[in-house]
Point group: C2
Chain length 497, copies 2
C-alpha cells in the first residue's frame, strides 16, 4: 500500500483523497487542480492563487527554469517556493512537452530530475515520451519502451523526499496503456499521470480519453493517485473524475484569458459573443460583458483568468460534493448534455460500467432515472447480478408493477429499470429511488432483462409478469415461459380470476 | 399590439423582451426576476438588490401595506419607492394569496386596486381567486368566473398609469386555462400572471406546470408579458422560459435562507449537508461551509440569501445568453437531468413541440443531438414538414448515409434524426449540426419517419435507403416499397452492381 495517498470517500471510480506531499509538508485534497505557472508570464500571482482561490498545489515547468537565464540561478539559490511565493505543493514538469513539440531537449533524464530536486520541487517528472494518438502500434511500443526505461532510471536517481511522477503512455492502444500502467505501478514511483491526452481533448475525443483512462486504471492499484496530464477544462472534470482521475492541471485558465476566451462548465465562449455573463463569480457579479470588453488588455486578461479559475475550482467543489452525496454519475450525466462529444464520453464510461461497478460501494444513497442511459448504470447491472442469488422459495411467483393476485404463492415488485425484487427490499437502495412518471423503452427492456436473470436462476419456478403498458420490445424480451398480465387504466390489480 | 412589451430575441417559445413600466419610468429586460420584499423582514435591502444584483424590478404585497399599522400611512404619504428606497419598477400583489390561505380578506377588489395605485405601485393586481390544482371542474369554472368578473371590474377602476395584472386561473384544466387566457388578453389589462402554480411546483409537478403554461400561452398573443406567479427556484427558470414565461418572482431566496437552505440550478441543498460549496458567487468564493455554519444566525441568513439571489440572477443570465445563441432547448435538456420530475417537465414541453415550433424562427443556429429526446425537437418535426414540399425530380433516388450508387439518378444525404435531405442543403441548419458518433434508436426511427414523409409525398419515385447498421426498429418503420442497402465496415459506398 502506497502510504502517500489515502481515500476519504468514493463514488463509482470517482474518489476524494488526500495526497501527502512530504517535501512541502502539506496534504493536498483530491480531486485537485494544479494551475500552471509560467514564471515569465504570471497572469495570476501564486500568492493570489493561494489566498483567493485556496490553491493547495500548482505546477510549473522545471525545464523552463533549467534553460532560463533569468531564473535558473535564482531557483537554485532560493528554491521554487520562495521564488514563486507559494507555500503549497509545487509539481514540476520535465520538458517532455518541449521534447514532443520541438523533437529534442538539451538535458538528460537524470540531469533534469536532479535539477528539479535541486530547485525544491515537491513532485518531479522524468523525461517520458508523450506518444500522440493514432500512431502505428510499432511507434507506440517503441516509445513506451523508452518511457519505461526512463521510469526505471528515475528510481535510481537520488531526489531526496521529492515525489516522482510515473507517466503512463501508450497512445490510443488500450492494452498498451494497461501494460504501461502495470509497469509504472510496479516501480517505486509515486504519482501516475495519464499522458498525451491533450490532442484527444483538443479534438473533442472524450470517448477515446475515457477509454485510455479506464485502460490505465486497470493497471493501477486503488492507492495510485492519477493525474490527467494537460486536462484543464472544467467541462470534463466530472467525467474524468468518474473515470478515476485525481489531479488536473490547467494552463487553459491563463491561455484562454489571453485570447478573450471564457470557460464554462459546458464549453468555451468568446467574450465578443457574450451578451450576458452566465456565471456569478466575483468577476461576473461585478461586471457586464461590455465592461470587460472595455477594460485595457492586461486588466481584461487578469479578470478573465480569475473568472476561468473561479469556474474551474467551483466545478471541482461540485464534483466533490457529488461524490459525498453519491451522485457523481448524475452529475456526469448532466455534464454529458453540454456537447455531443461529451455524450460520447459518457457512453464510453458506461461501456466500462463493469469496471466501475467493482469499485462502487453498494451502500451509496442516490439513483435518479434521468435518461435511457440511466438503464445502463452500474446499479442496474449490480441488481441483475443479485437476482442470480436471491432465494425464491415459492412455486408460482407474480412479478407485479401493481397489486397481488391469489393465483400466485408470492408477489415480487417489478420496477423499471431494475426489474423484479422481493417486497422486503422496497426500502433498500437502489429500488427505493425516485422515478419519473414515464420511462423510455430502455428502462422496460432493462427490467425485462432482470426478469430473464431471475427466471434463468430459478428454472423450477413458474413466473408471471403483471405490467402497466410495457412496450412491445420489452415484452418480447421476456422469457417465453413467463405469462403476462396487463394492468388496467383504472385498477392497480391484475384481474382476479 | 400592446405597446408596453417588445420582443428583442426569440428561441422557440422563449424570448428576451423589454417591458415598459410607464409609472416607474423604467424599462425592464425580461426574462426578469422580481425578488419578493416583505416590508417587515427585509433580508436584503431593496437598495442592495439594485446596487449589487442589478435588480430592475421587485414585488411586494399591497395587502400587507393595506393592513399594516406600521407602514400604511407611510406608504400613502411617501409612496413605495421612497419607503423601500428602490428606483426600479415595483409590482404589488393584492392579497389573493392571503385569501386563498385564510379564506377571506377585509378589502374589496376595487379598494385594493385603488390603494395600490395610491401607494405608488407601478404594476398592481386585482383580487383573483387562485384555484388550486385538482379541484372539481365545477369549482374551477365557478372560481374562474369570479376571477373574470374581477378583471373586468379592474378595467373600470381609475389607477392612472399603473399597469394591471390579469391573472390566468383554471386549476389543472388546460381548456379552462386557455379560455381564461383568451378572456384576460381581451381585457385592457397589461401583464398576465399564470396563477396558482405554486402547489404544483412544491410537489415537483413540473409536467403539469408546463401543460398549464402552454395552455395559457395558447390564449395569449405573442405581445403578452407572462408572469409565472410564485415561481422562484432557479432550477425551473430555463424550462419555464422555454414554455414562454417572461417574469418570475422569488420569495424563495429569503425564505429558504431563513431555513439554512441553499439554492442551486439543480435543486436545493441544506447547509448542514454541504461539505463543499458548488458555486463561485462572492459568498461561496469567500467562505467554506464551516464558516457559513459558524456565522451568527442573522449574518448567515443574509449570506445565504445573497448566494440564493446570485445563483438566481446567474441562471437568468444563462437563459438569456442561451436565447441569444439559439441554444435554449439545449439548456433545458441539461437542466432536465437534475431531477426525474424535471425530465417529466421537459417531456411535457416536447409534447407541445408543435406549439413551440410555430413560434420558432427557422434561422436559428444550433442543434446538438444530446439524447433520445433530441429526436423530438421542433427542428426535427419542421424538417419532416419540409420533406412534403421539397421537389424530387428524379425517377430513382438513393437516400444514403454513405456514398452514391450508379443505379440511381440522384443521391440525397440521410442524417439521423432528420432523415433525408438534398446534398445542396448540407451546409444549412439544422442538418449542418454536430452529431455524436453513435445515435440511439430514437434518432434512426425519426430518420425513418422522415423517409416515410418523403416517400408519401412522392408516390411515383423509387427510393432506396443506404444505411450504416440501422437498428431493426428503424428499418421496420421504413415504407415497404423502399429497398435497403447496408453500408459495410470498410466501405462508405453501397456495393456497386
Amino acid at each position: 500500500m502506497r502510504d502517500i495517498f489515502e481515500l476519504r470517500d468514493v463514488d463509482g471510480a470517482g474518489r476524494i483523497g488526500e495526497l501527502d506531499v512530504p517535501r512541502a509538508g502539506v496534504t493536498v485534497e483530491t480531486p485537485a487542480l494544479l494551475p500552471v505557472i509560467n514564471p515569465h508570464i504570471r497572469t495570476i500571482e501564486p500568492s493570489t492563487l493561494e489566498a483567493d482561490f485556496g490553491a493547495e498545489i500548482l505546477i510549473t515547468n522545471g525545464y523552463i527554469f533549467y534553460t532560463s537565464e533569468e531564473y535558473r540561478e535564482q531557483a537554485l539559490d532560493e528554491g521554487l517556493h520562495e521564488l514563486l511565493d507559494f507555500s503549497g505543493a509545487i509539481m514540476t514538469d520535465s520538458g517532455s512537452f518541449q521534447l514532443s513539440e520541438y523533437g529534442e531537449i538539451s538535458v538528460t533524464n537524470e540531469e533534469i530530475l536532479r535539477f528539479q530536486a535541486d530547485i525544491g520541487s515537491d513532485i518531479g517528472t522524468p523525461v517520458d515520451i508523450p506518444t500522440p494518438p493514432d500512431v502505428s502500434r510499432e511507434q507506440a511500443e517503441e516509445e513506451l519502451a523508452t518511457t519505461q526505461e526512463r521510469l526505471e532510471a528515475a528510481e535510481d536517481v537520488d531526489v531526496g523526499d521529492m515525489l516522482v511522477n510515473a507517466p503512463v503512455q501508450g497512445s490510443t492502444y488500450t492494452d498498451l496503456r494497461t501494460e504501461a500502467a502495470e509497469h509504472a505501478y510496479g516501480t517505486g514511483l509515486d504519482v501516475f499521470p495519464v499522458g498525451a491526452v491533450v490532442p484527444m481533448m483538443n479534438n473533442y475525443r472524450y470517448a477515446d480519453m475515457v477509454e485510455v483512462v479506464l485502460a490505465a486504471k486497470r493497471g493501477l492499484g486503488a492507492d495510485a493517485p492519477v493525474h490527467l496530464f494537460g486536462a484543464g477544462h472544467p467541462m470534463m472534470f466530472a467525467l474524468a473524475v468518474a473515470a478515476g482521475c485525481d489531479l488536473f492541471d490547467s494552463a487553459a485558465y491563463a491561455l484562454y484569458a489571453r485570447d478573450d476566451r471564457y470557460l464554462t462548465i459546458s464549453g468555451t465562449e468568446h467574450l465578443d459573443e457574450l451578451d450576458y455573463l452566465p456565471c456569478s463569480c466575483p468577476v461576473c457579479a461585478e461586471h457586464t460583458p461590455d465592461e470587460l470588453r472595455a477594460a485595457d488588455e492586461r486588466h481584461r486578461e487578469e479578470l478573465l483568468a480569475r473568472h476561468n479559475l473561479h469556474v474551474s475550482y467551483q466545478e471541482l467543489r461540485t464534483v466533490k460534493q457529488a461524490i459525498r452525496d453519491g451522485e457523481l454519475m448524475e452529475l456526469v450525466e448532466r455534464r454529458a448534455r453540454s456537447h455531443p462529444a461529451m455524450a460520447d464520453g459518457y457512453k464510453a464510461l458506461l461501456d466500462g460500467a463493469g469496471q466501475l461497478e467493482r469499485q462502487d460501494p453498494v451502500s451509496k444513497g442516490s439513483f435518479f432515472y434521468l435518461s435511457p442511459q440511466s438503464a445502463r448504470r452500474p446499479e442496474v447491472a449490480r441488481h441483475h447480478d443479485r437476482l442470480d442469488r436471491l432465494p425464491v422459495e415459492a412455486d408460482r411467483v407474480l412479478l407485479s408493477e401493481g397489486g397481488d393476485n391469489r393465483r400466485f404463492d408470492e408477489t415480487w415488485r417489478l420496477q423499471p429499470p431494475f426489474g423484479p425484487f422481493p417486497s422486503a427490499l422496497s426500502e433498500s437502495y437502489p429500488v427505493s429511488a425516485e422515478f419519473p412518471e414515464r420511462f423510455d423503452r430502455e428502462a422496460y427492456e432493462a427490467a425485462a432483462e432482470g426478469v430473464c436473470r431471475l427466471v434463468e436462476a430459478n428454472p423450477d419456478t413458474e413466473f408471471a409478469v403483471a405490467h402497466w403498458q410495457w412496450p412491445e420490445s420489452a415484452l418480447a424480451a421476456l422469457p417465453e415461459s413467463v405469462e403476462t398480465l396487463e394492468l388496467g387504466e383504472d385498477s392497480e390489480n391484475p384481474v382476479e380470476d
